[in-house]
Amino acid sequence: MTSEQTSTTHAALDAGSPKRTRLPYYPGCTLKTTGKGLEDSALAVAETLGMELVELPRWNCCGVVTSLTDDDLMRHIAPIRNMVRVQEMSDAGLVDDKRVVTLCSMCFNALKWSNARIGGNAEDLKSINDFMYLEEDYRGDSEVVHFLEILKELDPEAIARQVKVPLGNLNVAPYYGCTLLRPKSIGIDDPENPTIQRKFLETMGATVIDNSYKTVCCGSYQTVPDKYAVAELTHDILSHARSAGAEAVTTFCPLCAFNLDNRQREVLEKHPDFEPMPVFYFTQLMAVAFGLNAECCRFDLNHTDPRPLLRGKKLMKEDA
């Protein structure tokens, strides 16, 4: 990242300029289906903050899980093909930044890890470019960033100015999971004790509840073969947040969200005393704090409906 890029992002926001900073944006498959609440709220929040997230044309699956096998280059084709799209967009002047913004933690991890792994190895980059001979060669110099990193570059005052509905009486525990943080070379914060969500939640006026389960794995894809194993993790993660005083948790990952939210059904089967807890996408709460139209939050897709909690706290209109 160069200082010019950072200052461009700031300039558009500070000047309140009608021209928004255009950033390449990679959504990922889940954000187009069950994770629509993350995408729609994030796009609306970005717009409010003077940024336009421009969706990559012809993007494909991110590759999901980064292959750690040295010679398994096939698994890196999907992420690198997306990086070719970023390069094309940037070269064509369709965006103001060479860095592609991700929202889904899993996509962020897969793209950034592959980009670092292949972009940093001239021989493997050549192998992949040779294989993808119908595409232009990827130069290996585009970057992958997470939406939180973009928020971090903005002037905190400018974000604070957009807060119309302070989340004052809402006790929120930020949940991080794995893919935003690990491995350390890819993660965006301290893998042991991340705090990046805290700052923004505080800016929005929420009461931030820290707890040691914020980086415990949600069980990931084990949810497919063994949903009860995952339900136990969900129980532990949410119960710890609850006993620390939280009324809700936030996440950036559709898979964590599925395991923490939808698996509450299985948690209740095994632990009838468990008190269901809303799981927010981070940007859903930002949209609430910014007073944006609740439609962009797609709360209808949440398993544990967060609207009663928000209405009870007077953070959402009764009819919204």
Partner: protein, 252 residues
């Protein structure tokens, strides 16, 4: 002597291809092609399909409309001196000197059975019937194999995103030859995924056309019954006359 001349004429006559009607004496340019490993001299201006017939093959499979529409004549070939296996439709591609050819008679790929009325109009319909789509590594091998030049990988990615409209649009010209599925390292059956997606889009994603509603109502009222009965009762000769005299859109 005259008897042996007749014999030579008969031998010469026998070299004329029965199906193409080309007399070898009239052919100026020849190429050598290899059909399933065996070499044949064939006229240079034939398609792969007619060249095979010229060589003496009688096609009972791998052959359909001969117009590039039905997708039955999927062919895999390699050019002499090249490493690359390429694919084409035999009825639409001209032979080249040194072509090594094999016909793909049929792809025994799975096609899902479903009741479209009881399927949900979202990504889950693909994960239910064709869960392999999630294995796509975006290698684009399917696209390279497509004789219709479709962006096959892109429409599989559209399926994964639950974007029925772009799937339907991108796969519209698919002729279901099956070459994509034969080449896919993730064992996806692209053309059947496309088929399912287009049906779902037709049923749930696109508006019901007004003219279709009107025409269906006309049929319900029996407005075409007598015309149809007349056709059913017509002789073959009459049918042929009617067919030859029909008005086509392209004639108007």
């Amino acid at each position: 002597m005259s008897e042996s001349k007749t014999m030579m004429e008969r031998i010469s006559e026998s070299t004329r291809s029965l199906t193409t009607g080309v007399d070898s004496r009239d052919v100026e340019h020849w190429v050598t092609i290899y059909i399933m490993g065996r070499g044949y001299e064939v006229p240079a201006d034939l398609t792969i399909m007619t060249a095979m017939e010229f060589a003496g093959y009688k096609l009972i499979r791998s052959c359909g409309c001969r117009q590039g529409f039905c997708g039955a004549c999927a062919t895999v070939f390699r050019r002499e001196g090249q490493y690359k296996l390429e694919s084409a439709l035999a009825c639409q591609t001209r032979v080249e000197d040194g072509m090594y050819l094999v016909q793909i008679p049929f792809s025994p790929a799975e096609a899902a059975y479903y009741d479209i009325e009881s399927e949900s109009y979202d990504y889950s319909v693909f994960s239910k019937h064709y869960p392999e789509v999630a294995r796509c590594v975006s290698c684009n091998t399917c696209t390279k194999a497509c004789p219709q030049d479709l962006e096959v990988m892109d429409y599989i990615q559209s399926a994964i995103k639950g974007d029925f409209e772009s799937l339907a649009e991108q796969s519209f010209d698919c002729i279901q030859c099956g070459l994509c599925a034969l080449r896919c390292p993730a064992e996806i059956v692209h053309y059947n995924v496309g088929h399912l997606g287009r049906r779902m889009f037709g049923r749930y994603g696109s508006p019901e056309p007004e003219h279709l509603k009107t025409r269906l109502a006309e049929m319900e009222r029996g407005e075409f019954s007598s015309a149809l009965d007349a056709l059913v009762g017509a002789s073959t000769k009459k049918l042929k006359e009617l067919y030859a005299a029909r008005v086509r859109e392209s004639d108007e």
